[in-house]
């Protein structure tokens, strides 16, 4: 994330309650005087303790760190550092659904203690220790009975609309979040959703009727009658959103990668040997952050995560990421984060001044990257010259474990089946020559029972 003056983070500017800033590599949150009363209620009501205990809110400590903008300052807090920030357009269906339900669960707990969420941005949720966690301590305000929920529109745009589109149209439609920084416009969602969704009470009201109402009152100042908008009404609204979201499903069907490991020409012994090599090489370097580039369902990511490293397992296929995420939930894994990412078009910097959402590389570098069975997809399917592949990997991490898959491998043959082989330099020697421009090769080993080869390399100083 880029910084502006006083170390203030560029994504942290909308809410006048406070902002994030970094000083000597430590992340702080300044709380402004305007937010003092709400903050006191959050802490004194027991809501903070309750949410932190449930893993729904990021813990923080109050510090003596001087504020970045002292005139407005009330307090400075130091939130727990999140090892890797991810964005909703990188989440699988289940992850976005969990983030939505966590937001509603926080809202219900807050209402019981006289507070309410004043925003409901999907970007305020991060996966911490395998759980969707609110990272914005300043999202709460004192609830005044009779007032509606200011963040209802934002919740529908950030969570309900993309989930409904993923469930009822196509799972790839969460990519709309990359275009619309404040969530999917409801008129767009309403026009894309199939007619049958009008027979679902939640989708009919919260999306279709909601979009109509927005159209009808667009740009008009209204003084809505809030008679009857009591706490029961608020609870009814939250429960309805909850039920609607719980009712959305997506079955990760047979995609390109769904049956990947059963369709490869791996023998069991090659598979095991590859796992052993990765485990041993990762253990030697004790990385804090590992990126698995092309991690599929996370089989090899788990070898890295076993060393205690926070491991981000990226894959292009939403079905593989969904499967990986379900495993994380099933086994309560705390150090593995599956994410959807297209390596040939990684997440860009987005938002105001290109600085609200960081690109993939701005969120790095990792200490170690895994690039297993991926080089042929980049070099052959996507025509990236090997030197440029090496250059990208060197930007991703200091250490690299990379697998070279030769042309004789059936997976490469499959890629070449429908096209002319214009890759004369795609050989083991060509690969090593290209990568040695950017890396020093420390170790190499053939993967037993296969024609593939693993390398451990370190990026040369730039």
């Amino acid at each position: 994330m880029t910084k502006i003056t006083n170390g203030k983070l560029s994504a942290s500017f909308r809410d006048p309650s406070g902002f994030l800033f970094s000083q000597n590599g430590v992340l702080y949150r300044q709380i402004n005087r305007a937010y003092a009363e709400d903050y006191a209620r959050l802490m004194d009501s027991g809501l903070y303790a309750k949410l932190v205990k449930a893993g729904l809110l990021i813990p923080h400590v109050e510090t003596d760190q001087p504020p970045a903008e002292s005139e407005a300052a009330f307090k400075v807090i130091q939130p727990e550092r999140i090892p890797f920030i991810s964005y909703p357009y990188e989440w699988s269906f289940g992850q976005l659904q969990e983030a939505a339900l966590a937001t509603l669960s926080i809202q219900k707990r807050a209402l019981k203690l006289g507070m309410i969420l004043k925003d409901a941005s999907a970007y305020n949720v991060q996966f911490v220790r395998g759980k969707a966690t609110l990272m914005d301590t300043l999202s709460f305000e004192i609830y005044k009975a009779g007032e509606p929920w200011t963040a209802y529109k934002q919740f529908c745009q950030h969570f309900l609309a993309p989930l409904a589109l993923m469930s009822h149209c196509d799972v790839r439609l969460n990519q709309l979040l990359k275009i619309y920084i404040d969530g999917v416009p409801l008129d767009l969602a309403s026009s894309l959703l199939p007619f049958k969704t009008k027979f679902n009470f939640g989708l009919f009201t919260h999306i279709h009727l909601h979009a109509n109402s927005q159209r009808k009152y667009s740009g008009k100042a209204v003084e809505p009658r809030t008679a009857g908008m009591n706490q029961n009404a608020m609870l009814g609204l939250i429960e309805s959103l909850e039920k609607t979201i719980q009712g959305l499903t997506w079955q990760a069907g047979d995609t390109e990668w769904g049956a990947y490991y059963t369709a490869t020409n791996y023998s069991d012994s090659a598979f095991e040997h590859k796992k052993q090599l990765i485990r041993a090489w990762v253990a030697e370097h004790k990385p804090a952050l590992v990126w698995d580039l092309g991690g599929n369902t996370g089989v090899f990511s788990r070898e890295a995560a076993a060393s205690g490293a926070m491991t981000v397992s990226f894959d292009l296929d939403p079905a593989a990421v969904e499967q990986n995420y379900r495993l994380v939930k099933k086994d309560k894994e705390q150090t593995l984060l599956p994410l959807v990412l297209d390596l040939t078009n990684p997440s860009p910097a987005l938002g105001w001044n290109h600085a609200e959402r960081a690109s993939l590389l701005q969120r790095g570098p990792a200490d170690l990257a895994l690039a297993l069975a991926v080089i042929h997809h980049l070099a052959i399917s996507n025509n990236v010259p090997l030197l440029q592949v090496a250059e990208f990997f060197a930007s991703c991490a200091q250490w690299l474990i990379v697998e070279f898959v030769p042309k004789s491998d059936s997976q490469v043959q499959r890629l070449l089946a429908s096209r002319k082989d214009i890759f004369p330099e795609y050989t083991q020697a060509g690969f090593e020559a290209a990568f040695q421009e950017k890396f020093k090769i420390y170790k190499t080993s053939a993967v037993q029972g296969s024609e593939r080869r693993l390398y451990l390399m370190s990026a040369l100083p730039k």
């Binding site: 919260h206 927005q214 740009g219 908008m229 609204l237």
Partner: protein
């Protein structure tokens, strides 16, 4: 009743109107559910999970 919106998010006129309409309707259901729970309580029937709400958030 006058509504003073939070300082920084625009709740949207159309969004507010539809929200209040849906919430007031659903609020009747919540009110009925909790009264029903109380009535059952007078007759010694323990409130069910449904009477208290979809899930107990204090778990």
């Amino acid at each position: 009743m006058h509504f003073s919106p939070s300082p920084y998010l625009d709740p949207g006129s159309g969004s507010l109107i539809i929200q209040i309409a849906i919430a007031v309707l659903l609020g009747l259901g919540v009110a009925f559910r909790s009264s029903w729970g109380k009535i059952k309580g007078w007759f010694g029937v323990k409130a069910t999970k449904e009477d208290r709400g979809a899930d107990d958030e204090d778990n």
